[in-house]
Every structure is written in C-alpha cells, then in structure tokens.
C-alpha cells in the first residue's frame, strides 16, 4: 500500500534537514501524526514565522524581527564601537559575556580563497559605509581565530587603517579550562605575546 500523499510529503521535507535521515524523518512524521493538533499547529507557525517575520537589521545586518534590531535600537549601547563577527550566531556568546556594550556588524562569512569566497561576497561594503559617518572610534575584529578568520581580519585591517579608526583584535590565547600540554605553538606564542601583568 503506498503511503498517503501528505505523509510522504512531510517525510520528504523533513529528510532535507541536516542530520535527518529517511528513518528519522519517518519517525518524526508519525509522531506528529499522533500529536495534538495545537502542538502541530504551533510548530507549523513557528516555522512559517521564521521566514515571514525575520528581516536583516539595516544597520548591523543581524537577523531580527524588528528593524533596526534590539541592539542597534538600544540607546544605552556605545555607538562608537563596532564588533565585527562572521555569523549572526557569533553575537550570542559575545552578548552572554555582558562585557561588551557596543554595536555589531555581521559579515556573513569569511574570506576563503580556495572556496572562491572573496571580500565581495561578504558584507564589507556595508561596514565601510557605516564607518564613514565619523562616529565610530574603535572596530573590534572578532572573526574566528583560524586561518580564514585571520585572513579576513588582516584584510579588514588594511581597508580600515586609512580611516584612522582604532582597530583591535580579540585576544588569542589559551582557552579557560584548557590544558597547556595540548596547546599548539601558534596559540602558545600568541598567549606569550599577549601576557599581562597580574
């Protein structure tokens, strides 16, 4: 007996999601089939809202449900600092620290020459036009501490330096809870270079 069309279709759709195989898709589908109608409706709503209600903040390009986003709208935040991150998700851990009171800018990627991703594919033009208003005094480069992240940071440094804005990079050193024995030489050299009086 062939599966009813709505069931087959949901299985197919779920199957497209990352790390959901055909078996997991079937299991989820049959779970939803038996779940209370309001629960299913809530899930469907949540999924629809994801695309319908979310927009990019016209200032920092973070994903938001109101433009400008809550961070850019907040009067108490320091408008002279911009922290540059690779992806919207990188803002979350920075916000969790509660140490940073400035604004953000999302690049949506990093320069990855061997994948054919260059500066034109990133939101760099948008960043430069934000810096042109003369209000910003410091740019914090918070791209990931790996080869592509460093490449992007160095390239941005080259673009921003002529504007006379202070450019800083997140410290690169030993992770809290880590172990010196396993630290690689690059991390350790950076940690030594950036050592601080205590």
């Amino acid at each position: 007996m062939p599966t009813a069309e709505p069931i087959a279709r949901l299985i197919e759709e779920l199957n497209r999601l990352p790390s959901i195989g055909p078996k997991s898709a079937q299991r989820l589908t049959y779970y939803l089939l038996r779940a209370p109608a309001n629960e299913v409706a809530a899930l469907a709503d949540a999924i629809r809202n994801l695309k319908e209600k979310l927009v990019l903040c016209s200032i920092c390009l973070n994903i938001t449900d109101s433009d400008p986003c809550a961070i850019c709208r907040n009067e108490e935040r320091d408008r002279t600092k911009i922290c540059i991150v690779e992806e919207p998700i990188d803002i979350l851990p920075l916000e969790r620290t509660k140490k940073y009171k400035g604004l953000y800018h999302v690049l949506y990627g990093v320069i990855a020459p061997t994948d054919g991703i260059g500066p034109d594919e990133l939101k760099i033009k948008e960043l430069l036009s934000r810096l042109n208003d003369g209000l910003v005094t410091e740019v914090i480069l918070a791209t990931n501490p790996n080869l592509e992240g460093e490449t992007t940071a160095m390239y941005l440094q080259r673009l921003i330096a002529p504007l006379g804005i202070r450019i800083t990079r997140l410290a690169r050193g030993l992770p809290y809870g880590g172990d010196l024995e396993y630290a690689d030489d690059v991390t350790l050299s950076r940690a030594l270079e950036g050592r601080q009086e205590m």
């Binding site: 020459p113 054919g116 260059g118 880590g178 690059v186």
Partner: protein, 256 residues
C-alpha cells in the same frame, strides 16, 4: 594478519571543510600515503586538543585510527606551524594558492615523497620571502615538471628548431614554447618575451636559493604569472579559485 588499527604519519594540511557540529574533514598531504582525507573531531571547539595542530598550512605529526569510511585523527603535534606565513596577508594568500594547486593536481593515496618535499620546501621559502611571486612560479614549474607536464623551453614544440634569442610564443596546448614563425600562425599561443623565457629556463634547472636571487621587474612578473596561469588552467581545465583572491589582493593598496 590484520593491518594495525592506528598509524602515524607526517602531513601538511591542505584543506578543511566543516562536518556536523564541531568536526572537520581535512585534506592532508603526506610523504608515504600521498593525499588523503581524514576526520578531525571537535576541532571547532576552543578546548580541542587537536585545534591549532591541524590548522591549514601546518606541518604536523599525526596519529590516525582507521575508520569505516574516513580515518580519524586521534593525536596531533605540530612540527612547523609556519607562523611567518600566517602572520602576513600576502603570504597566507600565496600559501592557500599552493595548497589549492597541490589538491587540484594530485589524486588520493598516490605516494609521492618528492612532491611532499617540494611542498614543504616551498612553505619554508614562503615563510622567509619578501617577494612571494618568484616562489609561486618556481613551485608551479617544478610541480608541473614533477607531474609530467614539464614545459618544453628549449626547442619549438611544433618544428623542433632550436629557439632563437628573440620574442617567441607560448602555447598551453603544445605544452611549451613555439618559435616565432610557428607561433605566429597559432591563434591560441601568447607572445613570450625573451626575458621571460630566460627566467623560466633558469628556474626549471636551479634550486630555490638560486631562484630567489633572480631580480624581476613588475612587468616581467606579470607576464610570467599569466603564462603559468594559462598553462595551469589548460591542464586542469578550470581556473583555480584562489587566483581571484590573489588578483583582488594586488588591487588593494597596502597602508603605508
């Protein structure tokens, strides 16, 4: 007798792609096993003990466990991290180009110790170089030489006559130089200046130390780059992706 479940090898990390939550698939170039792909688990977490030891363009000693599909890296220790490359935008970009070249021209599991040594020597040279371009050209020439695409620079590839000391032509599809007369009738051939020919000949037959002593003006450097780029594009039947970035970088002026 079953093969041991783990093995050790040196490797240069050529490429990384993200896998799942925090893992990566690495493309490695090794002296005994040629190119191979392996999984590095958890390397995207800050506390990863593999982390920086398996960063791109790093020369590391690795311990791998045989997996069902891909082998899994269990331990890693850096031999040389080539920090001078990673601290410099110009050098990083050239390093990535070298990695892409090696990845594009090699198949998996084909042992080639001499190529490994060449790549390693090239990264060492790149760490010290002020002008990176001659190093790239030298590497391209010797990589092609090694793979059996050594460009013919002594005789005309069409009529076999010895080349005269004058402007000749270079034809990617002939795999070398065409003399003035033959090249003239070959629409795909590009002009090759006498100086460019001389430099290519010298580089083909010297070591890195000698290659670096050659003084090249910007015009000649551009010509050599174009010749090699066209030849490589012809051989691979595609343009390497990182060339776009190299071009972009050249157009971005350095802050003084």
């Amino acid at each position: 007798m079953t093969a041991s479940r783990t093995y050790q090898t040196e490797a240069i990390i050529l490429k990384r792609i993200k896998l799942g939550e925090a893992d990566r698939i690495l493309t490695l170039y090794t002296p005994e096993l040629g190119k191979l792909k392996a999984v590095a688990k958890g390397t995207r977490r800050p506390q990863s003990k593999l982390g920086g030891h398996v960063e791109l363009l790093t020369h590391s000693r690795l311990m791998l466990a045989r997996g069902r599909n891909l082998d899994i890296i269990t331990q890693a220790q850096t031999i040389n991290n080539f920090l001078p490359i990673k601290d410099d935008l110009e050098r990083i970009s050239r390093g990535l180009y070298i990695a892409e070249l090696v990845d594009s021209f090699t198949g998996e599991h084909i042992e080639d110790r001499r190529l490994f040594d060449l790549v390693l020597a090239t990264l060492h040279q790149l760490s010290q170089a002020k002008d990176c371009e001659p190093i790239l050209r030298y590497f391209e020439l010797h990589l092609l030489d090694h793979l059996g695409y050594r460009p013919q620079l002594q005789q005309c590839t069409e009529c076999n006559s010895t080349l005269k000391p004058e402007a000749n032509f270079f034809s990617p599809s002939h795999g070398g130089v065409l003399c003035h007369d033959c090249g003239f009738h070959e629409p795909v051939a590009r002009p090759l200046s006498l100086n460019a020919l001389k430099v290519l000949r010298l580089w083909q037959n010297c070591d890195y130390a000698a290659a670096r002593r050659v003084k090249i003006n910007p015009e000649l450097a551009t010509e050599l780059e174009q010749v090699m780029r066209e030849y490589i594009k012809y051989l691979l039947e595609k343009q390497l992706k990182s060339t776009a970035w190299l071009d972009k970088l050249k157009r971005t002026t350095q802050p003084k």
